[in-house]
Amino acid sequence: MASALINVPKKAKRGDIIEIKTLMSHIMETGYRHTASGQLVPRDIITSFACRFNGAEIFRADLFPAIAANPFVSFFTVATESGKFDFEWIGDNGFTETASATIAVE
């Protein structure tokens, strides 16, 4: 069961630069590991992460097996208006998860 942890400030002043931290629980199986009997463990990773603010994309990332399990990504944005951040993770085997957070800008 996948779940997301999002850290967005509840409030900000207009023009503030705010940091957004995200963490998605996911195994991020690299596809390069073998079992003791020599079988390759198939790849199962999150390949793409995106963040939209009020519908407009503000950040996007392509992830590779080199990203650690439970991928943590943090980035910055300027608080321009009150609204809603939508986060989306897409991965192998049809994995999709979304999360959202609101901010009040004064």
Partner: protein, 159 residues
């Protein structure tokens, strides 16, 4: 003498084998094809094309000595005013010796305010990490960092 030695040796190997399977320390028998400086250069070329990559502007924060390569904190920041006509478009991170040369691509925009991203990465070996930033004027800037890893990630056996 020989009769007594053989079972001891067998028992020893049996113990060593079971220790290897339950151990979390990577005992690697099958190395996958690993990235090399050449494949890293090729991966960089697919991003920058024929453009000249200059050194500077980019800062790569990663511990120089890593005990556990399974999760290594990494921060990349770029010196940029992040204004509407002068901003960082994207940040790309590459490595020399993981199975794949790419680590992550991060796309920013003028509204980011600060050109900085953080994540946690896996390192399969002691190696050089390169971060490249694409600016809005089309120029590329890079920085590299060397990391020593004592416990490698990616290639260990699983149960």
């Amino acid at each position: 003498m020989r009769k007594r030695l053989a079972p001891t040796r067998r028992r020893f190997l049996g113990l060593a084998g079971s220790a290897a399977t339950i151990s979390v320390i990577p005992i690697v028998s099958l190395h996958p094809a690993e990235a090399t400086p050449e494949t890293m250069a090729a991966a960089i070329r697919t991003v920058v094309g024929g453009a000249v990559v200059q050194t500077g502007k980019v800062k790569l924060d990663i511990p120089p000595l890593v005990e556990n390569g399974n999760t290594v904190p990494m921060t990349v920041s770029v010196t940029s005013p992040m204004s509407a006509d002068d901003y960082v478009k994207s940040i790309h991170v590459f490595n020399e010796k993981n199975p794949q040369p790419n680590m992550g691509n991060f796309y920013l925009g003028p509204k980011a305010g600060r050109a900085q991203i953080s994540t946690r990465v896996r390192l399969a070996d002691s190696q050089k990490i390169i971060a490249i930033a694409r600016l809005s004027d089309g120029s590329f800037w890079s920085v590299s960092a060397d990391v020593v890893v004592t416990l490698a990630a990616c290639t260990e056996e699983v149960m």
